[in-house]
Amino acid sequence: MPPAHTGGAAPGGTAFDGTVPGGAASGSREADAAARLARGVRPTDAHLAAAAAITQQERSGRLARIAYTARRIVATPQGALGVVILLIFVVLAVFGHWIAPQDPNAPTSFSADILTGPSGAHWLGTDENGRDVMSELILGAQTSMLIGFVAAMVSSVIGTAVGIVAGFSGGWVDRGLTLLDDWFLVLPLVPVTVLAASLLGSKATNLPLGQTMVLIIVIGAFGWAGTSRIVRAEVMSLKSRGFVERSRALGASHWRIMTRDILPNVMPLVLANAVIYVSLAILTESTLSFLGLGDPNRFSWGQMLEHAQSAGAMAAGNFAYYLPPGICITLAVLGFSLLGHSIEPLFDPRLKERR
């Protein structure tokens, strides 16, 4: 067994190799309760107290496990760097409006000093409308984080659902979903999101968040195929493990097995994958914004680069305008992929790199 699997030595045990408590036991304990009820045995106070004690124990076990996992992620230089980058951008995203020296949307922010270089008043100079580049850069973090996180969540939910249903059902359902998966994997991400985002663009005004929501939908809807493939493979191997068969033998419904036995066991895998997908989503958002499909009401790094390019910032040698947004995109993409890649071997050494 590869060394990365020593994650099984975590306090409280891991739910991921199926041989230790956690997810594996929870399924069978519930099934035991169900079986007892079926036999006509009423749970006594003693039973309930015991159950509460176990839940308590499991909860602290889970916390310990999370803390342990977090320590292991930060222990590697890659993981630590990823966490630091992520924290910086999340802070900028949440508190950007207070941190930014200027509100670039305010009419007073426009000035005649266009495309100036760095100065005391404007650390990164001004854009083609005379607005503070630094402020736009800080507000851009919010757009990237919002679209990155939510799109990755959408994609993970779809991918996990498809993967679990396909892997668990087998037969025709599996074949059909796997085919669908193959088809979605083929669609080239940039052309398909460009087409979908411009088609949906006409509906943007009806959606909350407008064009930002459009970007979230298209990036989320076309990136799930990789996740579902990985989840399906994991479910196939979980299916033959004892705890699933036990639940099945005790008469648990398919829904119950999928949500209570299988889902908790694929979650770590899904999580690692989702973190990596955040980086791809951020990259795709910046590409779409650069191509002019971004939200005109928000600031985004890709959009800043488009404005810098069309305003001739490169020809004018205006480094402070076109370097920082690119550096931010690179750092954000780097941070999330480093973090994702340092989470994944903790749970599954087989997980293949994507993108």
Binding site: L189, P191, L195, S198, F290, L291, Y322, P325, G326
Partner: protein, 320 residues
Amino acid sequence: MTARSVVLRVFSAAVTLVFVLVFNFFLFRAVGDPKNDLARNPHLSLAGQQAVIHERGLDQSLWVQFYKYVTQTLRGDLGTSYANGQSVLSVLEHALPNTLILVGIGTVLASMIGPWMGMVAGWHRGKARDHALTQGSVVLYSMPEFWLGMLLIGLFAVAWPILPTGLQGTPGSTAVGWDHLWDVAKHATLPIVTVTLSLLAQYAVNMRAAVIDVLHEDYVLTARAIGLSPVQVRRRHVVPNALLPVVTVIGLQFGLVLGGVITIEAVFSWPGLGLLTLNAIDSKDFPVLQGLFLLTSAMVIVFNLLTDLLYSKLDPRIGE
């Protein structure tokens, strides 16, 4: 590899292509009635609109529309561009060769340099060379392609102006023959370098992993044991075997290559599919965007099929 499995693979690629057609049809209809869209085309009179509605069956049931759409697409009729009234097919035909130049030369260069970098890194695993190459690749890999292009313009066209930027030739140039070719080559240099750089990091990372895998194989140990020199071990046993998975990556990443080239062309105003995409987005030219999506998907499907067939040819272990 038997004839049967070749036929099966070609068939499954054809089915995937049909899915793309269906997807394209319904995506367009999911967001609104195409009839309303026609009214936005400035090159179409009211009578012309009626003609298109009749021709495409837009006033009939969805199934009739779908049938007409499929037959017309298979005949190569992809509709008319809103922007200039030309047929979408001719617009795409015009742009495609320029994109293929960038993709072709960029991929060839990257697949020579990238695997070489990966080989050096994997062979010297854990040494300074490995760290420098691997960390460099990871950073390069995280950069958006278009920004990389902007950086190169800033460096080699502005700060140290040795190369021209933008377009495919000097505007107004009447040069012919070799002079013209030289002019185009100079203009193509920066876009090609950008494409190459954006690809090679991926190849390097994959090659490194493959080399490290192969180094653990018994046949490498045997080759060392019978006294082959390190260079011989590397050339005859490590590189050929490690290259196999990298070939797959090069083939299967084609969709991403196209996506990257689109933005790179947008930066350099290189008159290929990317610039076409940019202009089509600006003018909300949906028929062109649909055509672009169909074309790029078809290219990805064909490329995946070729990679699949080539791979089973190269690796006898993956016969079936």
